[in-house]
Symmetry: C2
Subunit: 203 residues, 2 copies
């Protein structure tokens, strides 16, 4: 039971961050959004907002990396791209383009703690490290898949970075346009680029 | 003189948004950051924060589109890509990776007005429209350059979108990693992709 309340709060924080950014997501908002008891904050997150946001970043990373890893392992790099795009498309469309990427929110905003908090700078550096780690995870999964299919490490690295960076940028652009058209364009182009690069390895 | 105070506040707001996001940028912060008289807010921006943020988005858009347009007109699409990347590299490196893209901040955050403000939803939709317009501008400049150099409209559209989306995502990723390595990778890959696409039109 305790685990459930905690998990609900983490998922709720990730959801609010994806809709509003880091600084418009208060602890009070998370409690209200997840209908969890107010006392659970200090019980589950003794370090307060910075801890909850940090756990939400890790959670959001896994929400994407687990299906991505599964897709590349079962079906390869192109299927991984498809799964990666599909999870963002779902996120955007199921919320009428209100929710983007909570990890991107951490990479864009500067953390401001509750008024009683101290040392926001340390919290900010920690959150950036976590966001950086999530992006690195996603890139690694794509990179390994591309290498397994014959690409040289350097090219695989660049392409994996391009995939993650362009989809992250696209998710924000879709949120701005309230349309998935940008995602369609970028998905099609990336698919062509990856297929082309992989085809050349067998030439 | 009046124009100068106004311009300073707009540039200062864009700078703060690029470092902190939309919601950690208050009117008071902008006044302090730009050392402008407090009374100038209501004089220059009678609609308050939403107006200042809106003008900052348009300003930030032009800061990039003017040199980008110049580069593509004088030297073509690949030079445009180079100029686009260079302006973001400067922004990141000159601020020790503290400042990212203020337009991306609008596309990621949800606008929260000052406590006295009403109808944040209308302000939010307006800001998203402006951010969408800036992204569309940048894409159009790249698209026109690619078409002039022989690419078919559909491909040029997709590639222009990929360039803007991937660089926007990359800027946030560089901010998270406090390193320009991701930008190096994405720049190199995009240059190869554009050169390749353009080379094929003359085959």
């Amino acid at each position: 039971m305790t685990a459930t309340t905690r998990d609900k709060m983490i998922a709720g924080a990730a959801d609010l961050m994806s809709r509003r950014g880091v600084n418009a997501t208060s602890m009070r908002d998370v409690v209200r959004h997840t209908a969890t008891p107010r006392g659970s904050i200090s019980h589950h997150f003794p370090e307060g907002k910075r801890q909850l946001i940090a756990e939400a970043v890790v959670f959001a990373g896994q929400q994407v990396s687990v299906p991505l890893e599964k897709a590349v392992n079962q079906l390869g790099a192109i299927a991984g791209l498809k799964a990666f795009v599909a999870s963002w498309r779902r996120q955007l469309e199921s919320t009428r383009f209100e929710a983007g990427c909570p990890v991107l929110a951490v990479a864009v905003d500067r953390y401001v703690g509750e008024p009683s908090d101290k040392d926001d700078e340390t919290a900010q550096q920690h959150l950036l490290d976590l966001a950086d780690g999530v992006f690195a995870d996603w890139r690694q999964i794509m990179l390994r898949a591309l290498c397994r299919e014959g690409l040289a490490l350097k090219r695989a690295e660049r392409l994996a970075t391009l995939v993650v960076a362009s989809i992250e940028g696209t998710v924000a652009m879709c949120r701005a346009s309230r349309s998935a058209q940008t995602l369609d364009h970028v998905q099609e182009e990336l698919k062509m680029i990856l297929s082309d690069a992989l085809a050349r390895t067998t030439e």
